[in-house]
């Protein structure tokens, strides 16, 4: 379990980092928190010829509140920093609730927001949460910056829109709507393991009926799976038992997961539906509490 030979760069500026990425193209790999990359390299499952370590690039670990109340989160922000930011929990409770589900605290101390988003493990929490939140990703390269929505960012199994010469620098999260109901839930073999199935969702209510909703599942496909059919069904409906049951059925029908050693495809379909129903119930309960 020792990595294959590689060349290590530790740039001090973003310009230098993107220049190195430009220079090395597909041979280059960004090192952020290293919580996935380093084990993969040690197992020689990843053999990047060049490592560009972003840990000395300044300014990429800031959490800022934009004028409209949205968040701007630097890609090198440690997951633990979000977890410990009480003010952030007020501004985006779903994001705050998602982070403690990532691995263990030792992993979150080191692991970064950007690293998790770009690594794009389909069973991890942050990609799904970013899709549900409608986040935008800022990608920098030698050619400048471009912005890609989270939904467009995830292409397939561990494949993203991030090119080899690009680095994720910032995540922009739209402002949280007042009164929004939300929940995140997952089932993993052990606490801290990758989810066999999980769901991150929010619902905006208008009186007794759902005005808008976003439901994204994780661990049930090659990438975060947004279930628009279920969202459509919710619109205009009350969050009652019948609606929740129907949403469970829709999610079950819509999911097309694979089997692996921890769970069969059928299990993931079932539990994806169950968790969505339960999460909607938890979201509704939040509304009742608030009222």
């Amino acid at each position: 379990m020792k990595p294959a030979p590689f060349t290590y760069y530790c740039p001090d500026t973003l310009d230098e980092a993107v220049r190195l990425l430009h220079e090395h193209g597909d041979d280059g790999k960004i090192l952020a928190g290293g919580q996935s990359l380093m084990p993969l390299m040690s197992l020689r499952l990843a053999r990047p010829a060049v490592i560009v370590d972003m840990n000395r690039v300044p300014g990429l670990d800031r959490i800022a509140v934009n004028g409209d109340g949205g968040l701007s989160i630097g890609a090198m922000t440690r997951q633990r920093a979000i977890e410990r930011d009480a003010a952030l929990a007020e501004r985006n409770p779903l994001l705050a609730a998602a982070v403690p589900l990532i691995g263990h605290f030792q992993i979150r101390n080191r692991g970064t927001v950007g690293g998790s988003l770009v690594h794009a493990d389909p069973a991890s929490e942050l990609p799904a949460v970013s899709v549900t939140l409608g986040a935008d990703f800022v990608l920098a390269s030698a050619a400048g910056e471009r912005v890609v929505s989270a939904e467009d960012f995830y292409l397939g199994y561990m494949a993203t829109a991030c090119e080899a010469n690009e680095v994720l620098t910032e995540v922009r999260v739209p402002a949280w709507k007042a009164g929004r109901l939300w929940a995140i839930d997952e089932v993993a073999r052990r606490k801290g393991d990758f989810a066999m199935a999980g769901v991150a969702l929010w619902v905006d209510m208008d009186g007794g009926a759902c005005a808008d909703a976003r439901i994204t599942l994780f661990g049930v496909g090659g990438k975060p799976v947004r279930v628009e059919k279920a969202e459509q069904h919710l619109k205009g409906a009350a969050l009652d038992d019948a609606t929740l049951k129907e949403v469970e059925r829709i999610v079950f029908e819509e999911l097309e997961p694979d089997s692996d050693i921890h769970a069969s495809a059928l299990y993931r379909k079932e539990v994806g539906g169950v968790l969505t129903r339960r999460a909607l119930g938890a979201a509704a309960a939040r509304g009742t509490e608030a009222a």
């Binding site: 379990m1 020792k2 030979p5 020689r44 073999r189 990758f194 066999m196 050693i261 921890h262 299990y267």
Partner: protein, 770 residues
Amino acid sequence: MAESYIGAPIRRREDIRFITGAGTYVDDIKLPHMVHAAILRSPHAHARILSIDTKRAEALPGVVSVFTLEDIGELDATVPIRMYKIPGLDKYLQPSLARDMVRYVGEPVAVAVAESRYLAEDALDAIDVDYEILQEVMDVREALEDKVLVHEHNGTNLAGVHHVSIGDADKAFAEADYTRREEFRVHRFTGNPMETRGAVAHFDRGKGELRVYGATKLPHLNRQTIAAFLQLPEHKCHFEENDVGGGFGIRGELYPEDFLIPFASVRLGLPVKWIEDRREHLLAANHSRQVTCELEIAARKDGTLLALRAQIYGDMGAYVRTHGGLVPCSTAALLTGPYRIPNYEAKIHCIMTNKTGLGTLRAPGRVESCFYRERMLDMMARDLDLDPVELRKKNLVTPEEIPYEIGFTRPSSHPTILDSGDYASALRQALERFQYDEMLELQGLRDDGRYHGVGLSYFVKNTGGLEPYEGARMVVGEGGGVSVYLSIAQLGQGHETAMAQICADALCVPMDAISVFHGNTDLSPFGWGTFASRGTVMAGNAVHLTALQLKDKILEAAARHLDVDAANLSLEDGNIVQTGTEAPALPLGELVAHMRESITPEQGVPELEATAYYNSNNITHTYGVHLAHVAVDPETGMLEVLKYLVVEDVGRVVNPLMVHGQTVGAAVQGIGGVVLEELVYGEGGQLLTTTFLDYLLPTSTDVPPIDDLVLEEAPSPYNPLGVKGAGEGGIVGTAGALGNAVSNALGIEVKDLPLSPDRIRAWLRAREDG
């Protein structure tokens, strides 16, 4: 001083060094000019090796040597069978490096030695092996068809068969009111000690001596094999164990690497280090369990057990290793458990597949058989509308029947005899402590939306014996300090503390005056090892006997010095006391100082040392009860163990803190194995669980606090101390108790493991459909 050191809750002497990072493990050994080995392992489950080309690897900078089986030449580097040598198994042995064929993913093919482990692993990448991939066979039933042969030249995958026959099972079945037949399966998993295997071998060319660090469990036996392999005199081979981070049956067995690393050192004349990484551990160290059993039970309507009949299938993997047929045979050995079952028949099949070889893991075979039997008893209780506790009580062997000879349940010339016990008493205390009757009220669907269940299992477990002896040497030195040299190895259990307690009591000196040394074959010419919960039984009694001999010698020397009759002397807390007189006590240290000064040719050399061996073929049996309370989420299949109790009788407790630690640790390991852990093979015979991301060990959040009650109601009559081993009682009953608890919770019949959420969902779906 304490009334008695034995029985006192004394903190382990080892703890401070382990907890503060002051231990010395094999990876801490760093020698001048040391080089590092890495092992090329087969990526295929079954393939013919057409060619191996090491030239490219040898040319890499920093690479010292690359070698294959050809380089080992005529030396015999075959991993031997040491136990349970069922006829036929010896045709399925593993050469330390693959010879023409590879038969499992992970089989060693070549060794690269380089200036660093990094460079050695780079060299592995540059070894070119041409394989012709063959069809693999991964399932025992399929293997029995012999369509794909793991060892083609042997013509069959059925490597060996052993029969157990006691009474007349067929007759009992023919006459029984009630019979039932079920197939049970226990999956494949392994021990995963925190410290993986490792070795530093240093062949000193000048002295012609070999020193091997990282030896453990069976250092003398391993030295014997390796010395013979390398054609070195045994006394010039020194095996040192250092500190060891756990064994669980896995670590310390003799493996291919135990040949390869010393061989590399002899070949190169350099110290060579190899530390197994976790991926290698999961691929290459012994796997365990994976025994399938077709079990039949026969009884009277009133629940009186009449007979068991079993077909037992052990998935041996690709090679028979040191334990021979132990795992499946041990499944048969105690299948009847603590019950009076006069007729018993078992046929054990050892079957080859393209997997890593099978070896022992904490209570090998016994975890499996307890699961089969205790599940079957619960099924029978349901069928006959009997209370499962009453059913067990009715059939438990009574104290009046003990010693109870079950018969010849092993391939051994010794019958299995339950040596001592009050089985009903342990059951009664377990039920009380668990508040079993109140807990039963909780069964069924509760307010938390989960199904709750309570499960019980009863176990007996053989401890000690197996190999007949262990020894100790004891020396009194300056200041009255006592050195105890053990022949037995330690894997982290706490011999340094427990053996000092035993010594202190027998010798009548303070425990602080005693130091315990172990883990070096130079300390003692003979020794077996640490397995089968035999440390306290075998080495503990050896220490006891040695201390008694040494005490006599001390008193004789003191008698000469004081010019009194030895019969009037006694040792009390490290002082020699003249009984019935006002004479001042003579501290042992002063006696030693005097003897040193007064050595004259006339007096002879004062001898304050003794060596003794405890030698016994008798096997002690611990016994006890496991009780579990679980809750299952029916929609997700997630299982939570809410409460767990282990009650075991170990005869006599030397150190309650250590027994508590063993019991809790074993229960946690058992729950992990039953609920989480599994070695999963996929397409092409690839092992899919090669990291801790996929091989799931229990963590502190996955297990409840384990409650334990350790009893001393039935000391073993077989040894002077009356002790039995305490290392396995906490694991034996886990599969049985949890299997029964989940079955009771969900109204299903658990017949295979692990109790994973996916599997639980599948059972529930089948029930809903059916």
